[in-house]
């Protein structure tokens, strides 16, 4: 009896035997590496073989086979018990906060809804649909798990008045909604090298019809076999033999799952054997429900650009924007039809082919009595019904996503980001981002053409919320959808006159020496360097202006006055001020620094100007609000960090001068292009030979920094005002923003000045300019406007 059983084992394990010979070869090689002579060794092996009986060989072989099966078993269980799938992190934009009084036009909400993949239908009953009725939008929200709360689906009516939200009513209880968040738009994912994406579903969530359809089409005996369906295999084998090639597969669901999980697509006997063993092992350890659940989550069902759509959960979202539980018969049939070959039956390749197969699935359901003939007829008459605007996970904002990844890398490992299914909630405002993407692309192309730069003009821009330092939009390329060099973060360029506000701020903070009306000298200066070179800076336009008020020197960006002022107060206090403005980079202490021969990235400039825009607070810019786990539990919050590092009063004075830059200074084109109630502050920056064109400016709500230049640092012919400022103006025209509100405090008064006499005048005078001035330095009053 024993010999018989061993013989049986031996024959049934033909394939692993091959492996064993291989292993022996490896052992041989190893030994020879150790240096024992080949000849001796083979003699010793044959002697050894002579000694032992074949029975032992069989036992050893058997043990090796068993070991191999143990190895397969471990592989199977690892995959099943551990995390089955690497889930890419999902990156979300900010959720749109809705409340009455919100400045948001109907069109802006519609574009948000479009980005969310909401559909315009006559009866918005289903989550993810809406209906426009004059100045009202009725929509049914989708449920969403935020990091701090879960919102349920509800039917909402939003009324608009004067481009603002005037009223929000919840239809379910007919009550006013004070504040609500829409689900956020997905702006991308952080994928491992294999860009698989899926939305996990539980067995219990899968509609019975879908289960029946899958089993009918793919594996009718699913509940009756132990992983392999021998009759099916025999039938397939027979069919294939007769055809002389593979025409039929006898794979069970379990085999298909195992193949997808562990094995390649290569058709080989070795793979088939492994597949069979593993299928049996899977069935041995896990019950049918677990296996089925794994199958419906694993199966590949389509391709969205670089992203592979896996599982029925994501597929129903991707093709129909529905939860798996809400699928209709024809949709279920289509998804099941796709299993056979998502690429062959890809509806983009041939709708007809897919419809034919879908109808075949429907017929099969009728034949087996799952559905009635009438239901089938109705379903077959329906079109595929694939949604056209698919919520995509492939990012269209590469530069912003790049920033998010960099900020995440401080806290998470790359592997966790691409496998743990993290939910990353960012600060991106998709409405602003997409608007400025268009502006930047269009305007840069125009300026490039105008300056005959042959497409070499590059651009970067960043928009932040001045209140809380959230990065709302970020672009690092004149072609915003290109994901190459991220100039917003990595183009380190001289900042030119953008440095000046820091010098004037340092001067104001130095005792009581200066106020906005202090006279400073704008006159030639020659500075001898340590190596004997003489540096002779000049004004733009090469004119000198003599004694001029402090504020004029800054608002007109006079170089000579600035250099003299800077030398007077000393490099150290300027360096300290710049550091307090949130710049971490070491600022050099040489005279040309005073005119901005200091290199920074647009991102650093944004951080620096943020301290002014926020009224003297250093708030590190941030792009991530929270990170949540797959189940929605909050893992990490990124609260806004606030630290007062500058004097609020002197910052107010500087900001009032920078406001004059936009009214009567180097950026006065702002005053010409905006209504009077648009109150902003900003500074132009231009570098030697017009290589870099900068503008940094802010309102009471938004800060935008724009840079233009070429990657090879060639002159562009553009100043800050003729280049970057133009883009800034276009951006601000598109953003709904709030003006800066200047007000007096205990130590600073905001007053009207006659720009000729520099005396205080009535605010109603048409020639008045406005400045914030220290209370103890107020000028004399003048009683007529002239």
């Amino acid at each position: 009896m024993p010999p018989r059983s061993t013989r049986k084992t031996k024959t049934s394990k033909q394939v692993p035997k091959k492996k064993i010979t291989k292993k022996k070869a490896v052992v041989k090689k190893k030994k020879s590496l150790k240096g024992s002579p080949q000849q001796n060794k083979s003699t010793s092996i044959s002697q050894f073989l002579d000694k032992i009986s074949w029975r032992y060989v069989v036992v050893v072989l058997f043990l090796i086979v068993c070991g191999y099966i143990v190895y397969l078993d471990l592989t199977v269980r690892n995959q099943f018990d551990g995390k089955r799938w690497a889930l890419p992190a999902k990156v979300f934009a900010r959720p749109l906060e809705l409340y009455s009084g919100l400045k948001l036009s109907e069109n802006e909400l519609l574009s948000e809804l479009e980005m969310l993949g909401f559909r315009n239908v006559a009866e918005p009953k289903r989550p993810g649909s809406y209906f426009v009725d004059g100045s009202e939008i009725v929509l049914t929200t989708r449920p969403f798990q935020f990091w701090d709360e879960k919102t349920e689906s509800s039917v909402i009516n939003i009324k608009f008045e004067n481009n603002s939200v005037s009223k929000i009513v919840n239809f379910s209880d007919d009550r006013n909604v004070d504040v609500m968040r829409l689900e956020p738009v997905i702006i991308g994912g952080i994928y491992p090298s294999l860009k698989e994406d899926r939305l996990l579903v539980k067995f219990g969530d899968v509609p019975d019809l879908l289960k029946s359809a899958i089993m009918l089409v793919e594996d009718r005996e699913f509940y009756n076999h132990h992983g392999l369906y021998y009759k099916g295999i025999a039938r397939a084998l027979w069919a294939n033999l007769r055809a002389g090639k593979t025409v039929q597969g006898g794979s069970t669901l379990t085999q298909q799952l195992v193949k997808n999980f562990f094995l390649t697509n290569k058709r080989s006997l070795w793979r088939k054997a492994n597949e069979a063993i593993m299928a049996l092992l899977v069935e041995w350890h896990y019950d049918k429900e677990e296996i089925f659940e794994a199958y419906i989550n694993e199966i590949y069902l389509g391709q969205d650009k670089a992203r592979a759509i896996h599982g029925f959960g994501l597929a129903s979202r991707y093709y129909f924007d529905r939860d798996i539980g809400n699928l209709e018969l024809h949709q279920i049939a289509m998804l099941v039809a796709l299993v056979k070959g998502p690429s062959y039956y890809n509806p983009q390749r041939s709708v007809k082919r897919l419809v034919t197969r879908r109808n075949l699935v429907i017929d099969l359901l009728v034949t087996h009595g799952v559905i009635s003939a009438a239901e089938a007829k109705a379903a077959k008459h329906k079109s595929l019904g694939i949604i056209s605007s698919k919520p995509s996970s492939v990012s269209s904002h590469p530069a912003f996503l790049d920033l998010v990844k960099r900020q995440l890398k401080t806290f998470y490992r790359e592997k966790d980001l691409s496998s743990e299914g993290l939910q990353i909630f960012t600060t991106l405002d998709p409405i602003i981002q997409s608007k400025i993407e268009n502006i930047l692309e269009l305007k840069t192309a125009q300026l490039d053409k105008q300056q005959r730069l042959n497409g070499s003009l590059q651009a970067a821009t960043i928009v932040t919320n001045t209140t809380n330092s959230e990065v709302l939009a970020l672009i690092g390329d004149s072609r915003p959808f290109d994901s190459g060099f991220n100039r917003a973060l990595d183009a380190i360029r001289p900042i030119g006159s953008l440095i000046k506000p820091a010098i004037y701020l340092a001067a104001l903070d130095k005792g009581n020496e200066y106020n906005p009306l202090s006279l400073i000298e704008d006159k030639d200066i020659h500075i001898k360097g340590p190596n004997g070179d003489v540096w002779s800076p000049q004004n733009y336009g090469k004119r000198q202006h003599g004694m001029i008020p402090f504020y004029t020197a800054l608002s007109h960006s006079y170089n000579l006055a600035t250099v003299r002022l800077g030398l007077n107060i000393g490099f150290e206090s300027i360096q300290e001020t710049i550091q307090n403005m949130g710049v971490q980079r070491k600022i050099p202490a040489y005279p040309s620094m005073l005119l901005g021969s200091v290199n920074m990235s647009p991102y650093e400039v944004t951080q620096m100007y943020h301290s002014l825009a926020s009224g003297g607070f250093d708030m590190p810019l941030y792009a991530i609000r929270a990170v949540a786990a797959l189940d929605g539990t909050s893992l990490k919050r990124f609260p806004l960090k606030v630290k007062q590092t500058l004097n609020t009063d002197t910052v107010t004075i500087i900001n009032s001068i920078l406001n004059n830059v936009t009214r009567n200074g180097t950026a006065r084109s702002i005053a010409n292009q905006f209504p009077d109630n648009f109150i902003a502050a900003g500074k132009t920056g231009t570098t030697d030979e017009l290589r870099d064109s900068w503008f940094a400016g802010f309102t009471g709500q938004h800060l935008a920094v724009t840079w233009l230049g070429t990657d090879d640092n060639k002159p562009t012919g553009l100043t800050g005002a003729s280049g970057a400022l133009k883009i800034w103006i276009d951006i601000m025209k598109q953003i709904r923003t709030q003006p800066i509100v200047f007000s007096s405090s205990a130590d600073v008064e905001y007053i009207a000045i006659d720009p000729v006499t520099n005396k205080r005048i009535d605010a109603s005078c048409s020639n008045a300019i406005f400045l914030a001035i220290q209370s103890d330095a107020l000028p004399a009053e003048q009683y007529n406007c002239e």
Binding site: S5, T9, S12, V65, C66, G67, I69, V70, D73, L74, R77, N78, D81, G82, K83, E97, Y99, S100, G101, L102, W147, D148, E149, D178, V179, R181, L280, L281, W284, F411, Y412, K415, D416, E420, L422, N465, T466, T467, N468, G615, G616, F617, R625, A626, A629, S634, L635, K636, R637, P639, L640, K641, V642, K643, Q644, T648, Q701, V741, S743
Partner: protein, 154 residues
């Protein structure tokens, strides 16, 4: 095939192996606190209903010890009304409760910069700053803050 499985199972029993996965570390630490942030200073009466709702929600969360959620609520309120000095003040108090003194002082200063002469609020902010500085070991700074309070109270 079945016999193989049986043998394998015996071997498997002798080989005790378990899979180990890598887990993400969370750094959330929640301090046990009760709401105290809106006791003295009442919400600004000119606040919008949206902001009032969020303040109320924050209060509820703070009472339940859900400090992160409370902070998240107030952050939403700040986004809606950035110049609402009271909301910044509440934030400062939440951070004080969390013993995050740098943040408490920062938010209190920000609240003051927006307070527009609302003396009670300004004094309360200086109290937070004095307390935070004291806790941070900045005794001289705490004293200065206390002097400011005294001056304001005159």
């Amino acid at each position: 095939m079945i016999s193989i499985l049986k043998v394998t199972s015996i071997i498997l029993l002798t080989v005790g192996l378990s899979a180990c996965g890598s887990y993400l570390k969370t750094t959330d630490d929640e301090a046990e606190t009760k709401d105290g942030f809106s006791q003295q200073i009442q919400p600004d009466s000119s606040s919008s209903p949206a902001v009032l709702v969020l303040i109320k929600q924050a209060r509820g969360n703070a009472i339940n010890g859900e400090m992160d959620k409370a902070i998240s609520d107030l952050e939403r309120a700040i986004r809606i009304e950035p110049a609402n000095a009271t909301v910044w003040h509440y934030m400062a108090k939440l951070f004080l409760q969390q013993e995050n003194y740098n943040q408490a002082a920062g938010y209190a200063a920000k609240s003051t910069s927006l307070a527009r002469g609302y003396k009670k609020l300004i004094i309360d902010n200086w109290r937070i700053i004095a307390h935070a500085r004291y806790r941070l070991g900045n005794i001289k700074g705490a004293k200065q803050a206390q002097d400011t309070i005294n001056k304001l109270q005159q």
